[in-house]
Amino acid sequence: MGTVEYIQHHLANNAIGEGFWTFHLDTIFVSVALAALIIFVSMRLGKRLETGVPSGFQNGVEGVLDFVSGQVRDTFPGKNALIAPLALTIFLWVWLMNFMDLVPVDLVPMLAQMITGNPDFHLKLVPTTDLNTAMAMSLTVFGLVLFYNIKVKGLWGFIKMFLFHPFGKWFVPFNIVMTLIEEVSKPLSLGLRLFGNMFAGELVFLLIALIGGTLAVGIGALFWAPLQALLDLGWLIFHLLVITLQSFIFMVLTIVYLGMAHTEMDDH
């Protein structure tokens, strides 16, 4: 298998359907499975919560919750009971989906190919390297931003934001364009940042995997295989930081955008 085919094979989704009505089964399956994992573990934990001194796992979960609610307290003005659970959901889910990036790139696709008996079986394990997942979350956040913008500022206040922001009433057409770009760029940058980072990270893993896979022929494997392992370990450790950072950034930006939606614009 050639280098190009190898990478293309790994970056293709297991899809059914045509045109817009295409469903990426692997993306949906893995992300829903991880969501189910979150819910399952939460329910298990919920059954044996200790009010007194929390032990082990509960302590860790409380630490994460404390961290998230601290971020919300620091960044979010006012009160909204939805923000903290939303931020927590994003942090946990995005982190878990990103974490799939650290599973050896060939392991799960190979298992799937062995189980199904189909050597051409596609399985893209990391849902966040699918633009649909990243954009689904950023668009949901965008929807919430619009909703709270109108709820807090009122419909007229929301329109006023487009008309008189950022340059006052003498630049109304220009203001509309500027605010539109500003608002649309929020979900776009939010989703694309996550997607881009994870996609690039996955690509680097694939390239590292290629070192041992295609370059190593015969006696050369003695040199290339350890190099691959070393590079893989290095990128893995670095990527562990990246996935945490990306989920953290997604969470914080969500809080910030929703916070901006809750703030009254100052009149110009």
Binding site: N13, F23, I38, S42, V61, L82, A136
Partner: protein, 156 residues
């Protein structure tokens, strides 16, 4: 690798997951953490209150002890005073009694001495008269020299 209907599924999954996380993870645990925070705060304030009460009780105990000591001191002082008084009283009474007894005895003694002297005097006068009468039986008339005899009696 383009936007397609997967997006819709992911939006639904995301919204459902937010709901679930709020329901089974965020809700119970944040409630629990709030309860714990409240319990700790209550415990701390109770400890603070207990400490204050202990301080007050100690202060009160000290005051009570001081009062008791003062009272005891007073009582001891009074008792000593009273004892002294009683002793003094007894002394005075004893002195008076002794004086009275001595005065009575002296008066009796004086009376007896006087009576004895009187008796002696009259006996001596009779003796003197008898003696003188025997010596001067003739010359001296008792009636005639009564004056002389009386003077003699008085001189004795």
């Amino acid at each position: 690798m383009s936007i397609n209907a997967t997006l819709l599924i992911q939006i639904i999954a995301f919204v459902l997951l937010i709901w679930f996380v709020n329901k089974v993870l965020w809700g119970p645990i944040s409630k629990l953490m709030e309860e714990r925070q409240k319990r700790i705060a209550d415990g701390l304030s109770a400890a603070e209150k207990g400490k204050r009460e202990l301080e007050m009780a100690e202060k009160r105990a000290k005051e009570v002890l001081k009062d008791a000591k003062e009272q005891a001191q007073n009582i001891i002082g009074q008792a000593e005073k009273r004892a002294n008084e009683i002793v003094d009283d007894a002394k005075t009474k004893a002195q008076e009694e002794a004086d009275r007894v001595r005065a009575g005895a002296q008066a009796e003694l004086a009376q007896e001495v006087a009576a004895a002297r009187e008796q002696l005097r009259s006996e001596v006068a009779q003796l003197a008269v008898a003696g003188a009468g025997q010596i001067l039986a003739i010359e001296i008339d008792a009636a005639k020299h009564q004056d002389l005899l009386d003077r003699l009696v008085k001189q004795i």
